[in-house]
Amino acid sequence: MTDKFEIDIKVPNETRYLALIGKIGEDISGTIERYRGDRSELAYQINLVLTEAMSNAILHAPKDNKNCRQIHINISILNNNLHIKVYDQGKGFDLDTLPPPDFNELKEGGRGIFIIQSVMDSVTCRKEGGGHVIEMIKYLP
């Protein structure tokens, strides 16, 4: 065990929990010591990426499987990095082949991953434990 901070959340995959998870992210942001950037901006960003990734996880969970009724979220602070992992039981997707949003074509969707990539310093996706996880890292200078 180290001095790290870690929070692991399992929540029914319902959008009514988005606000709670976002709020917890905001609260954690507010406790980060020695953060030199804009704290309320950081709080908004963490709220935002949790909301985006959890919405996607809810949307892409297989509908027929009872094991998929839960979303799993892990937030930790380690070596001045804030790690956020959102797990789902869907088939996942490839960040590299995702087209960037076309700002001239006015579409209703397709901004979630772009937003996550804009506000986080590192975003990766991989298969894990029969499902898929998106890991988002924010450096805390």
């Binding site: 959008t15 935002l48 909301t51 209703e108 901004r111």
Partner: protein, 111 residues
Amino acid sequence: MNTQIEDKGAAVLIRVNEDRLDAHNSGELKTQMLAFFDDGKNNLIIDLEPVRFVDSSGLGSLVSGFKNASARNGNLKLCGLQPQVRSMFELTRLHRVFEIFPDEAEALASF
């Protein structure tokens, strides 16, 4: 979705009385807007003054309303954006799409 509606003649004012406009409630906003379009009311002002947080799905619902209004020769305009909400429009370049006003009065005067 808690909204306050006022028909101002030139436009219908929809004030979103929610802390968050996200994947949980943006669908309801879309439904409410569609009801006005079905009614022939194609000019909408969405007042986001109470909203502290918007995600991509909230933005998407506004884009949907904007496209529906335009297709009907109407318009959807925004007002009352909090600084962090405004940043979301800038990040996604949507501030170039929507007409954005400080408050309801100015938005209404523009119709």
